[in-house]
């Protein structure tokens, strides 16, 4: 297949759940448009479209997007807008179109919405979070405050899409007393329990909420032994099957006053909530041979735990890099070619995890395959380049396009390959059948007795 398809947009995105997936993109709010345009678009792309410069469908939106999600039934797309609105779109596969445009009427957000996600088990439940403006009635609001942190507070709402047209109906909001987020940067529903979700903001704790208890039930934090500081968590992601496993990632931004000294790189923590005192694994930047650092050196912005294989975790961040990890063993698997700017979202295609998309502030959404192994011709090209004369080098440098390949640290095959038990049975000469046992561990050679077929077999002399 095509190694890389790229769409020329600075946009957040969501995949559809089709086997040959669509991708919907929404103009990203945290980027400056090269033409200083304030236009915002929702655009539809396909992974097998021939012209990748133009979307297959496009429509305008009132405000730029911070996040997008596509419901499990492929029908509804929800956009988290920077102006505080939630926009709902309907996808029509018959003519590859998206119908605009209704804003959720009972929306209670007062500020930009940062994260939005459909419940994986109930398509009508939508979780959104962001920062809200503290609504104070006194005149102090208009005066500049010294500590501007107190001007915002986080907002989390759960909407029932079957009942959003009534402005009188209030969305559900969990009680957030333990963790005082000023904003929400990441929200994730538990993949097996539809009443549990988690949130990360700009604080040193990740909150786990249970909607049955209507409140926060667990507060995860970690003191980094090197710095003695609590890690600042920016992203949360649940294990695809195990309801008590969660991954959290840090963004120890140097500009963050809470953690000014701790910029020794960022890590992913794998937890089992049954022991929330100590993580199971820490995926930290490591030094590999020839002094290359493998891992995130700055601000992790997204995580995606592969639904089909829980030994794959994809991460990307402000260090422009995209990494694939095995969260069980803690080993880095693959380092993908660096982007030219912050990489804020990387996601597997939900029903075609052979590929993933990543969005960066470099102006592109790139779709690439999980594997991109250097071939013999790449090596030859590399060798011939190193033997180039100085003149040739400077003659070629402006026209050559450097195609960087992924660096593989461990060749770990995904579960949808053949690395499952294959009771392969193979015929060979003399009517012998070699088969692999049911547990995939042993081998048997039989000579099945089929009257009229093998009793007079003389092929051995062939």
């Amino acid at each position: 297949m095509v190694q890389v398809i790229e769409y020329p947009v600075t946009a957040t995105f969501a995949w559809s759940k089709h086997k040959l997936p669509y991708l919907v993109s929404g103009t990203y709010s945290n980027a400056i448009d090269p033409n200083f345009s304030s236009e915002s678009k929702l655009e539809l792309w396909s992974i097998n479209q021939i012209n990748n410069k133009e979307p297959i469908f496009s429509l305008n939106s009132d405000s730029k997007f911070n996040d997008l999600d596509w419901s499990g039934d492929n029908v509804t797309i929800a956009g988290a807008l920077d102006n505080g609105s939630i926009e709902i779109f309907k996808f029509n596969q018959e003519n590859d179109s998206i119908q605009s445009n209704e804003l959720i009427k009972n929306n209670r957000h007062t500020g930009p919405i940062r994260s939005i996600t459909f419940n994986p088990r109930q398509d009508n439940l939508l979780l959104s979070g962001g920062e809200g403006i503290i609504n104070s009635s006194n005149s102090a609001k208009t005066l500049p405050t010294i500590n501007n942190i107190q001007n915002t507070t986080s907002e989390i709402f759960i909407y029932d899409l079957n009942d959003v047209d009534n402005p009188e109906t209030l969305p559900m909001s969990p009680n957030m007393t333990m963790n005082r987020f000023e904003t929400i940067s990441s929200l994730a529903w538990n993949k097996s329990l539809s009443h549990v979700f988690s949130a990360a903001g700009n604080t040193s704790a990740v909150s786990i909420f249970d909607l049955k208890a209507k409140k926060e039930v667990i507060n995860l934090n970690y003191i980094n032994p090197t710095t003695g500081m609590k890690e600042i968590f920016s992203v949360v992601e649940w294990h695809p099957k195990n309801s008590t496993r969660i991954a959290t990632a840090t963004s120890n931004n140097i500009s963050n006053p809470l953690n000014a000294t701790a910029n020794a790189g960022d890590s992913i923590y794998i937890w089992d909530l049954r022991n929330s005192n100590a993580p199971l694994q820490i995926l930290s930047p490591q030094q590999f041979e020839n002094n290359t650092i493998v891992g995130h050196t700055d601000g992790i912005q997204s995580l995606d735990w592969c639904a089909q294989d829980e030994t794959f975790l994809l991460s990307s961040g402000r260090d422009n890099s995209i990494m694939l990890w095995n969260p069980d063993s803690g080993l880095p698997l693959t380092k993908y070619p660096k982007r030219n700017n912050w990489c804020f979202k990387s996601k597997f295609a939900p029903n075609f995890p052979e590929i993933f998309a990543s969005a960066s502030l470099d102006g592109k959404i790139e779709v690439q395959t999980l594997q991109n192994i250097p071939t013999i011709s790449d090596e030859e090209e590399n060798n011939s380049k190193q033997q180039e004369s100085e003149t040739d080098f400077w003659n070629n440098v402006s026209t050559e396009k450097v195609v960087e390949k992924a660096t593989v640290f461990n060749f770990q095959a995904p579960s949808w390959y053949n690395n499952i038990i294959e009771p392969a049975a193979t015929w060979s000469f003399g009517g012998k059948l070699v088969s692999i046992s049911k547990d995939g561990k042993s081998i048997n050679i039989n000579k099945p007795n089929l009257p009229g077929y093998f009793q007079d077999n003389k092929n051995l002399e062939e």
Partner: protein, 295 residues
């Protein structure tokens, strides 16, 4: 007859008995290949071959006229060629033209020379000819847009063309695009072209097997994750391919592998239910169960 328990430290993916039935090669997720001597009911480990960096999916013996030679393919994107000389196994060639997992590898009928066919998740198949001077000249073609799962050569057939005899060199591929494709060698352009794209599955085609028997009909079996097996037949190496379902109702689980016996056209099918079932064609052209292999 012969049973080998736990030879590898991880799952075994493929096995191959050599031409004389005396040597068995096995490959595994433990990244190794093992060679056993089989003598009557006994077996003895001869060697363990290290070289792949990922799970090894398939092993295949070359025809004995090329010596004790083995090809293997792996998730690491490579095809390795191994040879035994003076009792010692060594890696003699690396074929590194694919950018993703190589899922299937097959030696051509020996009449064509040392010719190897490989299919990869990068969507391509490659045909490599090992020449006398040791060089490799790969032909690479786009086969299935989202990955090739299996490849298989047709048996060597000679056909008459303009009163001269010519080889009809063909192979079949099965892909993640749910298609089965038949390819044919064009001696003028020295490349392979698509002869037929066969639609009959609704999910990934996991294995394709071209019957090695030279009968008046060509037989291809394709098995799929859609839990069906299709038998494709063509009369006189020409004309349309006819589709017959091996069994009208679906199998109880995903099907992984199909293998034709070297004579007699008995098909062995194995699948996710861990059963190996045998099938043969009856006089009316449909397929009857010929039992289940007890493991």
């Amino acid at each position: 007859m012969v049973s080998i328990a736990n030879p590898h430290s991880d799952l075994i993916h493929d096995t191959a008995l050599d031409y004389y039935g005396k040597r068995l090669a096995t490959c595994s997720s433990d990244k190794t290949i093992k060679i056993f001597d089989i003598e009557g009911g006994n077996q003895r480990l001869v060697d363990t071959l290290f070289g792949h960096e990922g799970p090894v999916w398939r092993v295949e013996w070359a025809h004995p006229k090329f010596g004790n030679t083995l090809a293997s393919c792996s998730y690491d994107g490579k095809v390795l060629i191994w040879k035994e000389e003076n009792g010692k196994w060594s890696q003699i060639a690396v074929h590194s033209t694919h950018t993703a997992s190589v899922n299937s590898v097959k030696w051509a009928p020996h009449e064509y020379g040392a010719l190897l066919l490989a299919g990869s998740s990068d969507g391509k198949v490659s045909i490599i000819e090992f020449e006398e001077n040791g060089s490799l000249t790969p032909i690479v073609i786009d086969a299935h847009s989202i990955g090739v799962n299996s490849v298989c050569w047709a048996p060597a057939v000679v056909e008459e063309q303009n009163k001269s005899l010519k080889q009809l060199r063909r192979f079949v591929t099965g892909g993640a695009d749910n298609l089965v494709k038949v390819w044919k060698y064009e001696s003028n352009s020295k490349t392979y072209s698509l002869e037929e794209s066969l639609e009959g599955h609704s999910d990934w085609v996991r294995d394709v097997a071209w019957s090695p028997s030279l009968l008046s009909q060509s037989y291809i079996a394709s098995v799929s994750q859609d839990r069906t097996c299709v038998i494709w037949t063509q009369v006189n190496n020409d004309g349309p391919w006819k589709k017959t379902l091996l069994k009208s109702e679906k199998f109880s689980d995903v099907l992984w592998r199909a293998s034709w016996s070297l004579s007699g056209n008995v098909l062995a099918i194995s699948g996710g239910d861990n059963k190996v079932t045998l099938w043969k064609q009856n006089l009316s052209g449909s397929w009857d169960s010929a039992g289940e292999v007890q493991q």
